[in-house]
Symmetry: C2
Subunit: 461 residues, 2 copies
């Protein structure tokens, strides 16, 4: 792709040339090659990263009642979609909402259909390629059964063995890497054990080996709940961060979702290892998990990016909403406003912060000559971005609606005039409609079975 | 207005008749009088209340940097719009965003242009009548100067007298009541001293008298910041709630915005006096004011409704966003999820809770025969409300976008097919554009003057 981009007199923006996949030049005045794009009343920013999601949760958004993670998860898995068509549609839906809220990249911590693991991955890969978003498909793996994720407290628990062996799981991931890992084409596979609560050290070790062998990024949930904090102590006799540090899982291509219940020592370890925190503020509120100490991370030099988390715990995939709430939420945690996140810092966290966490800061995350053209152009005449004030301030602190006018990923335009150009979104809506039904009475068997135990162990009497 | 309303087979909704202003009947099957409205794939709910806003703040949304209330306010007033045309346009803008996010009523704690106080009120009244939203215009009054709102701590401060006398202010409000207070026509005037931080007891007393004489609701800010909590102790030697209770300002037609820094004793007083708390979660985060103890209010039986607060501290007027965040935010304040707010409770707080706080629960706030037809119909085929799950859960927990299909206020349709029918929104956008300019370098003189003093008094050294 090759185009000139002109910006309006007053709007912030760039004049740039994009040749092929990369930004070729940025200057106040350039000769137009190809089609010039009128940037008057527009704001051009680097694409943001939806740095943690689970696409198939879209099928249950809005329906899981207010519950903490462990019980919410039980309900989620009771009704997880088991057909590939649904995986395909929710990957598209996740991508559409991400694109329309400033995102050009999505990290999909993909829930695998048992017995159809590779097909699940292939399906999500196909959806993301079709729509043209940059994707980091991170097959969600574990090797311990669900009940092992709840601390046992005083009780003695025996857990069923997980249905698939650690070795088989690792082979599966290696096969996915061989088939689908093509970072230059905008499709990466990550190693992504779900977290210390459901994974053995052997699984983490195997992932480290794959990561080293194929230069893969590493992803995981980390200390999302108090229950997990408690469990780590039971399991390792130290914090989860210390343990992951010791076994070598942390590093500059490791991104960790949530990171709520960390000590100052843990934070120092994240900083030292150059690990990235993915902040999922809406999910953390929705599940009552807590407020991640984001201002402390920033002060300690830990890289932070934003994620929507899966749509069942958000219950949307609007990245700008996650960025807004994930920025202003922390103003109540530190009385000194000089530490608060400014809108321009939010933009940098959402773009460059996301790129750093995926080890691609040299290729993505800013409007820099030579970097890949992952760009979003906002229409500053959207009612939600008027009156004219500080366009970046209003984009981050307001509630932009119908504001994304154009999106380019890897130099290819995937949204033009506020419409996705690569797939038919009306068809997608119809398919989402056809594959679902309204339900206001749903009950989870597993929640009913687990709840009394959970309340006892967590001292909710 | 007179119409039948039919609902789809699976969607929640009502079949109803609206004759004139009121809901005439609700039944599974009714003879259609007038135009039938197809409710297939729609969700019909009572209109929500944007129970606290300041419309003219729209002119500064997105531009005030992250600052606590007292410094933020200094910047707000440095650049407050002083012309009536802007007051008119921002009232329309506030109304449009409220309507498109489920609101049919707005409480506008209206900032008055000095010297043009009655004209400011007249202008806002005109805008709200034109667009057809139900309005509770609450002229923001005070009789102490801005610096009096910051606690003096150890220092001894003398404050300039306020430019208008208490008596003149009360006369102004009485005149506004005579000219504009027409509750049956959807236009009410409230007495609305800004808060204990800038108002004398004489002003509160005068407002109580006007409220009793004309049966007006009462509104005020209350304990939004730690600084105000400190100031109340300096000023009265007791909490602000105790003081307002003693002087008789509290009661079942009193609504109080923010209510963050209250003790259990204060909460008991609010419950006993049947006062209403208006929760403005986004503003409370944005300004770092804190988390209002909403779950405690609900447990104590205090009525709670939602507000966007002014657009400079939000920075939007999307009521559904305020409801979502104002619901899930509290999950982190109480580990027992059985106390968390469910989506159906959120709907009731936003509708009936709003009506109660304005002493109109007998006329508004629910789908009840005989109540006024303030109704919002959502399009459940909006991408943001798909796939089909629990429509109310997804409306509240998701991020509904382009989801409001129709709105009726007092039986009159003001939104149809997702378009405002009463004003031209494209013209409004053009006007907002024309009356503003982008600015990324703005600095506030008053903040520069106040900041060192604020940091000393608030122990930010």
């Amino acid at each position: 792709m090759s185009a000139g981009l002109s910006s309006g007199q007053d709007a912030e923006g760039i004049l740039g040339h994009r040749a092929g996949e990369a930004i070729a030049a940025i200057a106040p005045s350039l000769e137009v090659i190809g089609t010039a794009i009128n940037g008057e009343n527009k704001l051009l920013l680097p694409g943001f990263f939806n740095a943690h999601s689970h696409s198939s949760e879209m099928w249950q958004r809005g329906i899981i009642p207010p519950l903490p993670l462990e019980l919410w998860l039980a309900q989620l898995y009771d009704f997880a979609p088991l057909d590939l068509e649904k995986v395909y549609l929710s990957a598209l839906g996740t991508a559409v909402e991400t694109l329309f809220s400033g995102g050009t990249s999505v990290v999909d911590h993909l829930i695998l259909i048992p017995g159809k693991e590779l097909e699940t991955i292939a399906t999500a890969v196909r959806a993301y390629k079709e729509i043209g978003i940059r994707a980091f498909v991170s097959p969600l793996i574990q090797d311990e059964s669900m009940t092992a994720g709840i601390p046992s407290g005083e009780t003695k628990q025996n857990h069923e063995a997980y249905f698939r062996s650690t070795q088989a799981t690792l082979e599966l991931i290696e096969e996915a890497v061989r088939q689908f890992h093509r970072p230059d084409e905008g499709m990466s596979i990550l190693v992504a054990p779900t977290g210390i609560q459901l994974c053995s050290d052997a699984l983490f070790q195997g992932c480290i080996e794959l990561s080293d062998k194929y230069n893969l990024c590493r992803h995981s949930h980390l200390l999302e709940t108090k229950a997990q904090e408690k469990l780590a102590q039971e399991k390792y006799g130290c914090s989860a961060v210390e343990h992951l540090g010791r076994i070598g899982y942390l590093g500059d291509r490791t991104s960790l979702a949530h990171c709520i219940h960390l000590t100052d020592t843990d934070i120092a370890i994240l900083a030292e290892t150059k690990s990235t925190v993915v902040h999922n503020p809406l999910s953390n509120l929705r599940l009552g998990s807590g407020i991640a100490p984001i201002l402390k991370y920033r002060q300690a030099g830990v890289n932070v990016s934003f994620g929507c988390d899966g749509a069942s715990s958000n219950d949307s995939q609007d990245l700008l909403e996650a960025i807004k709430i994930g920025s202003i939420l922390h103003n109540i945690t530190d009385f000194d406003y000089q530490h608060w996140i400014t809108p321009r810092q939010s933009v940098e966290m959402a773009s460059l912060g996301g790129a750093k966490g995926l080890n691609m800061a040299d290729k993505l995350g800013s409007l820099t000559v030579g970097k890949k053209a992952d760009l979003v152009m906002y229409d500053l005449t959207s009612l939600s971005l008027l009156p004219r004030t500080d366009p970046i301030g209003l984009l981050i602190l307001g509630r932009p609606t119908n504001a994304v006018e154009s999106v380019w990923v890897n130099g290819k335009q995937v949204v033009a005039n506020g419409k996705v150009t690569t797939i038919n979104v009306d068809d997608l809506r119809q398919q989402l409609y056809d594959h679902s039904q309204w339900d206001t009475k749903r009950k989870s068997q597993t929640v009913a079975q687990l709840e009394a135990y959970y309340r006892t162990v967590m001292d909710l009497l």
